[in-house]
Amino acid sequence: MEIKESANNIKAIFRREIGGYFGSPVAYVFIVIFLMLMGFFTFYISRFFEVGQADLRNFFEWHSWIFMFLVPAVAMRLWAEERRMGTLELILTFPVTVADVILGKFLAAWVFIGIALFLTFPMVITVAYLGSPDTGPVICGYIGSFLSAGAFLSVGIMTSSFTRSQVISFIVSVVLCLFFILAGYPPVTEMLSGWAPIWLVNLVSSLGFLSHSVSIERGVLDFRDLLYYFSIIFFMLFANGIVIQNRRT
């Protein structure tokens, strides 16, 4: 009974949030800019045609970087706007749990990003037309990309719960996402290894997206990589719940 109620609440909040995206220019601006940036980086920076390889590696390697900016922009309104408009008081006095609200909001934003991601399908068609790419890496690439979007999103929704200002939420969340991207890069680990104990270096580099996304893009879906993304999401949403439950006003 409680699970059914919860599911109903999550569905109601999900529907409202997704309607909120598509009912405003946010959705269309996001999708258009996302697709344009994808095309620009893949074709002009990575020189997709000149490389002469019928795979999507050059396409997927940009995803984290673009998501780093765009996903916080999608997430920043989720709580901050409710705070600013006072509707937080409304939604938190409905017969719903904080977890229902967080899940409804998170899933709505994630599905929205999923839709934007899906709209990159012409890339797949192009590659399939030009050659015969391995389907494994393509499917895994999309899964990995979707998961990293989810992880960034969980960071964004968490920072959104701290503040009524969407700008602050956006900036803090971009910085945190940048940390997750950079944590695994050699320059960062080298900088750390000079003075930090080895366990800290390992911890920081394993927190980074890089090692996980590389293996997924190769077409290997390792359980540990999935666990990595889902534990980031879980941790961030959990932190979000604590922030909301302990807010002062």
């Binding site: 109903n8 609440n9 569905k11 408009m85 006072g86 008081e89 409304l90 006095t93 409905f94 002062r248």
Partner: protein, 310 residues
């Protein structure tokens, strides 16, 4: 029944609500009065579970807001201060969302939304985006949200704020109509409103309850209660005052206004519960004074309010 038990709230070191307890039964409309920042909204927010109390709790129809929050909130309809709404939704979409969260589905949900639209006179703006509506409409949209599930307990934070006099009247009628089978708490700082709607009034000041009575009894606290106001044609005031002083039970006579063609006086009784009006009328007619108007004062709420809260 809503039982509020020792609710206390600290914001930092500041005590916003100080050990407030009361109960509201079904059929009652409790007016919650107080100056701004007296703790009205904070108390209501604790009763609805929006902010956790520092101490104490509220029990809504048997469900404790701290330990059984979802069950308690199901029984409550809540209109928060400033009537928050989602500006980018249509009126219908907003109410549909609220009904969905309240667990209604299908035809039943549609019916609930239609009923709420009807009750709050929102049919004309049904498909309008909320951000395009005036303050009064927004207020009613949010009010519609609070009654959509026909709750047993209604908590309304300044329900008529921002409405014009006609709309105020409608909303008050609606509240009174619903009160038969509901327990209603409404906060206001409009004294007339409390007088017109509430069966009981709690006045709070600086986070404490300073009065818990019917509006009528509150009035009797006024120094004006039972006083007799008179207007007469101009006359010799000295003689008049000594005449009144002779009446049994009269404490004091005050000249309110003295003009060329009228004299206004107010006569205060020694004891508010022993009427003096008969004695006054007899004495005046015995001395052949002409009375233009006569009025027995009920007491003024604003005076009582000031006395209790300043």
């Amino acid at each position: 029944m809503i039982e509020v038990k020792n609710l206390t709230k600290y914001f930092g070191a500041k005590k916003a609500v100080d050990n407030i307890s009361f109960t509201v039964e079904k059929g009652e409309i409790l007016g919650f009065l107080g100056p701004n920042a007296a703790g009205k909204s904070t108390t209501m927010r604790m009763i609805t579970g929006f902010i956790p109390p520092s101490d104490g709790t509220a029990v809504i129809g048997g469900a404790d807001i701290l330990t059984d929050a979802v069950a308690a909130r199901k029984k409550i309809g809540y209109l928060p201060e400033n009537a928050p709404v989602y500006p980018d939704m249509t009126v219908y979409g907003y109410l549909d969302f609220c009904a969905e969260v309240r667990g209604f589905s299908g035809e039943n949900r549609k019916k609930k939304v239609e009923e709420a639209l009807e009750k709050c006179f929102l049919n004309e703006v049904k498909f309008q985006t909320i951000s395009t509506l005036s303050k009064g409409f927004k207020q009613r949209v949010c009010f519609a949200q609070s009654i959509i599930h026909d709750p047993e307990y209604l908590i309304l934070d300044e329900p008529t704020d921002g409405l014009d006099p006609n709309q105020k009247h409608e909303v008050r009628l609606l509240i009174r109509k619903m009160s038969a089978d509901k327990a209603i708490i409404l906060s206001t700082h409009i004294l007339d409103e409390m007088d017109a709607v509430c069966s009981r009034a709690i006045i709070i000041a600086k986070g404490r309850i300073v009065a818990d009575e019917t509006p009528f009894n509150l009035r009797t606290r006024s120094s004006l209660h039972g006083a007799v106001s008179l207007t007469l044609p101009p006359t010799d005031t000295e003689k008049f005052i000594s005449c009144i002083r002779g009446i049994k039970g009269v404490k004091e006579v005050r000249i309110i206004e003295k003009e060329a063609d009228t004299l206004k006086v107010r006569i205060y009784p020694e004891n508010a519960y022993t009427p003096i009006v008969n004695g006054v009328v007899t004495a005046l007619s015995d001395h052949h004074y002409e009375i233009k108007t006569i009025f027995v004062e009920q007491g003024r709420l604003d005076e009582v309010f000031r006395e209790l809260t300043v």
